[in-house]
Symmetry: C2
Subunit: 310 residues, 2 copies
């Protein structure tokens, strides 16, 4: 690997001059600039990150604290990471993965993305899921989704809408409930706690159990909202869309109505926000993104004809 010294030697100038050309941090005459650039091109020189960082005290790296396994199922993490990587790379940064439970190595990255664990409150960081109050975050609004779901069902004439929530151990689960309550209130429909079931955990058989609990309670309901990918898989297995159904994520079960989470936009926005923060710019403390409802072919499509569900 060619170093800056090699470039300097080949161009017949000092290393400082090369550095000045490459970062244009000092005026350099046209003639020497050309000599330097020619040498750079000839040697295929690329500055050595480690060396540069040592001096600049910047790692040009963004750390990601990988969430626990049980969070993963509610988030297309692979797509998320791919998009975040793209965003970081195009800004000259790299993404570094770190298990959330490892002890903090704060100096490995300039900033951190967190899905659920505080690294060290001192370090620059940004959240992607249900942050502690003080931390900046870019979030997808589950309350909005829940509200849209309820509105869609009530617009189609339903009045008793069941809700299978996420278990409260999942960060942000409360917001589904919040949106549900809010939409009911706005629609002037009385809240009936018997229509809400919280599953024990987030696995597919918990969805089955929750669904059966709802069915066994002899509470009649004419529409159902299921929060959570895994849960919904279970519910769909048992229910076969007997009542109009809206699930939290549209991506796995086709035919069922559900929400498209703006994963790419989410990752992109978050990375750029973090980079702005690192640049010292003031950033909005909270940025909310809205999922969009995708009506599937199964269930109640005919009931919704003429309803603008974009």
């Amino acid at each position: 690997m060619a170093t800056i010294k090699d470039v300097a030697q080949l161009a017949g100038v000092s290393v400082a001059t090369v550095s000045y050309v490459l970062n244009d941090s000092m005026p350099v005459s046209e003639a020497t600039r050309n000599k330097v650039l020619a040498a750079v091109a000839k040697l295929g020189y690329q500055p050595h990150r480690q060396g540069r960082n040592l001096q600049r005290q910047r790692t040009l790296t963004i750390g990601v604290l990988l969430p626990q396994a049980n969070l993963l199922c509610e988030l297309d993490l692979a797509t998320w990471l791919l998009e975040a990587t793209n965003a970081a790379t195009s800004a000259g940064y790299s993404l570094l993965l770190q298990p959330a439970d490892s002890q903090a190595r704060g100096d490995l990255a300039d900033g951190w993305i967190s899905f659920g664990t505080v690294l060290d409150p001192q370090l620059p960081q940004i959240w992607a899921l249900a942050p502690p109050f003080e931390q900046p975050a870019v979030l997808c609004d589950a309350a909005f989704a829940a509200q849209r779901a309820v509105e869609t069902l009530t617009h189609a004439g339903m009045q008793r809408i069941g809700l299978i929530t996420l278990p409260r151990s999942i960060p942000g689960s409360a917001r589904w409930y919040l949106g549900y309550r809010r939409a009911l209130r706005r629609a002037g429909i009385a809240f009936d706690p018997a229509l809400v079931v919280e599953p024990a955990d987030n696995r597919f058989h918990d969805g089955v159990a929750a669904y059966e609990a709802l069915a066994a309670s002899e509470n009649d309901y004419d529409g159902l909202i299921v929060c959570g990918n895994q849960l919904a898989t279970g519910v769909v297995m048992v229910d076969h869309a007997k009542v109009p159904l809206i699930v939290s994520h549209s991506n796995t079960q086709r035919g069922i109505s559900g929400f498209r989470w703006p994963t790419e936009l989410w990752a992109h926005t978050l990375v750029r926000k973090l980079l702005q923060q690192l640049d010292g710019s003031a950033i909005a403390h909270r940025t909310w993104l809205n999922p969009s409802l995708v009506i599937g072919s199964l269930g109640f499509k005919e009931d919704l004809d003429g309803f603008n569900y974009v």
Copy 2:
């Protein structure tokens, strides 16, 4: 952040001694060792990666070339990355994400994990999916899976077994076909090309199309193997397990028989292999891992009673 100088000063020794204690690269008397360790503990000192790397010419980082989106669906990449991160972290390494199509920055990592793109043949790297011939790799054996699937069906008395392959654009797709052919040959069953359908692409509606093509061809079949997660989702939607069905991945569609890919083991093994290679140890050029068949509750469980399918 405390530096090694601070530690040296506090302990009343030279920086070299501190370094020798921390890496035990030179003998140090018990007394000074204790002084140093006390100082380290008191200051909460952790060596600065950049500085260390600069000297050692090691980044202590493993790069991951993130695969294209259409590969992702056949691989639980989130779990894979989490496990790889754990393995790397416990060896003192970090994982660095890089888009496969970005121009190579080889010096960012000591070694590279590749899912489908060659970074630079010179760089130390290891493959996780269908490598070029010369590259070392740790792979999950789809041929083994296909063979197990065929065996399972023939053991249950089936003779005409349909195969919906992966599109050949997917790396490694040929191995499904290979295993299928091999198992048929061993079972003494004639190969009928009419029972094999290659879908146009890897999306769920391609599965639907492939299934319908097979059904329309009026070829009777008594068992079906579907390679690919997305494809299987489509097939299951249409078929509802009319014939005994085995799909490539067991994780999303429960009730259906399918394979459990040893994702955690896979990631772990691959990372350790790469680290061995970086240490200069000779490593096996190919390591094969076998997926295991999980028989679901739907379909032909009763036909398999008494058959040892572990």
